[in-house]
Symmetry: C2
Amino acid sequence: MSGQDQCERAIGGSLVRTQGVTAPSGFRATGISAGIKASGKPDLALVFNEGPDYAAAGVFTRNKVKAAPVLWTQQVMTTRALRAVVLNSGGANACTGPLGFQDTHATAEAVAKALSAWGTETGAIEVAVCSTGLIGDRLPMDRVLAGVQNVVRELAGGLTGGAEAAQAIMTTDTVPKQVALHHDDSWTVGAMAKGAGMMAPSLATMLCVITTDAVADADALDRALRHAAARTFDRLDIDGSCSTNDTVLLLASGASEIAPSQAELDAAVLAVCDDLCAQLQADAEGVTKRVAITVTGAASEADAVTAARVIARDSLVKTALFGSDPNWGRVLAAVGMAPVDLEPDRISVSFNGFPVCIDGAGAPGARDVDLSGADITVTVDLGVGTGVGTVRTTDLSHAYVEENSAYSS
Amino acid sequence: MSGQDQCERAIGGSLVRTQGVTAPSGFRATGISAGIKASGKPDLALVFNEGPDYAAAGVFTRNKVKAAPVLWTQQVMTTRALRAVVLNSGGANACTGPLGFQDTHATAEAVAKALSAWGTETGAIEVAVCSTGLIGDRLPMDRVLAGVQNVVRELAGGLTGGAEAAQAIMTTDTVPKQVALHHDDSWTVGAMAKGAGMMAPSLATMLCVITTDAVADADALDRALRHAAARTFDRLDIDGSCSTNDTVLLLASGASEIAPSQAELDAAVLAVCDDLCAQLQADAEGVTKRVAITVTGAASEADAVTAARVIARDSLVKTALFGSDPNWGRVLAAVGMAPVDLEPDRISVSFNGFPVCIDGAGAPGARDVDLSGADITVTVDLGVGTGVGTVRTTDLSHAYVEENSAYSS
């Protein structure tokens, strides 16, 4: 489902990509260059919730190897409230041992102290930390701590720089990703995200901060976020590699004084997450094709998603799509390994709506389907039930190999 | 373990790669060009067991989508005996429906009839069929059936052309793969194999015919083959994609009149399979690095192999190795997703024997390890038990993408 379709289904709202986390009332954000990246590009962002509410929810990587900021933020989220999120690119602070965790803690402390000095009494336990970049190296903490002072000073200056924040969390991303949904009932959901590689569905596969000025408690936020993540980030699979740092946070300020129904909140958060997924897919490392793998006729929705994911991860399917080659046999070979109910002789496959395989055997003209466009839909009907699910992926291109072999990232 | 090491462990035998399936007494083989391949290259091979014994064993793809020749040969193997194996490249005869199965059956019938005419009374149920090539198209049966006449005529001429047979089963392979182990006790195991892509461990991931002149019944052959396959083909993973056509057959003629012990047979078959795996790995599609991933300290051998396989399939690990980049963080991120017992803070990693990560954090000099050679060993110690396992893989290179996107294969 495209962001546009999703938007139309969302009750009375419209999506704009020119705004992000500061679109809702009650949020400030900015991004600066703190010198963490050798390139001097922006690398430190802060999102600040002015209230009056501070309810929050979060979902995190399912990788057993979790970065220090993930371990810290999971502790913070036990309070189900957040005043601020500090995010850095230029280093993942993953696999850095106890000292790396101390670095994350010190960063949260520094943010809390600087915000308190600015007149907003804040404790470190109210500050989430997100990091992204190369795994395995300690962060340059002198630069991080000096950067924290600067980024809070900028924020105190009254700037609401959601776009700058979205810029500062980029790694191999080529464009910043942000979106806002303005609900007709005068409340708003805004968000930013980063992520271009090491993306596979495990709750969330990148950094993402979502804000809203709706009045919603932590339970409502948690429900809306899990509902959306399961249908969006969980079904985005660029390279099957799950990051150590994945974090998605949802913060509510309540500043609109409007309390939407759970269904309205669910729909709005889903629309925003869906649009961000489309942006992440379109800017994935080495992407030349945006591919949607839909499995229908599965025994269950879970089976459909599982089968779609197995196809989406298959290197031979992905290289064929890079070559615009309608090599449907590779789709059959891939789905045959999926741990789901299937009957080989009942499987049918379409590329871009054109049937290429019917009941497990080739259809006339199957080798001539035109896959030269940038968008490719692959539909696989298992013919055993009514379960349906879609996974978004990309092709496997020379550019992906180049980007991921030429330097440490 | 290299083929050489393995060889030395095999009791009193030596491996030579200049011979293959016709090295043992009692076997004839040859390969011809039947016109199945548009290129005119050799594409039809026959291996014939002159006896006096005909015991045989086989292992097959675990893919639920099985090619017609696999379905046929699985039926044949219920008799636990084989007189002949006919193999074609130029077409997988997979996903071809009931007509494709009839084609396989007709091929076996034609081989049986031609062999009978030559004076060797043979039934179709004694003839295994193997096919490899593009999935989804019917074979050109007029050429296949004419080729069967020619290949049997060649064989009747008395030629023992194991090398020609190994040549005729190649697809994207650049070199034929064969090996023979001459046991000091005057019995021999010979073999040939093909396979360069769509290789992932699922019993067998290519076509392979192994012959021996030892006296051994079907039980002994089955045990030796499963023992060897589990430790060799099952631990070779080039691209995580399991074929629809994988078949490994082991035929015994008994012509040496020597009956080795089960342990001797196991060791010899293992040595031959291990050597073939090294050959398959070295000629894999797009390979620039031969990579062995060893996991130690796992809770069990099964956990070790599972974890090694997850690392071996990770696109970001494989592209880093292509770039000779000691990016050990990607190894940690990959193993963190393996469904095995592990403690992130107890994981240690070495590249080519050099420690790059100790107890989950970077080791001094880790970024400077030289991975520029063609052979790379990655050792991951989970620190939770005594299980050990190795998976062979390759890097993910531009050549792999090129080979698999440029044309249907």
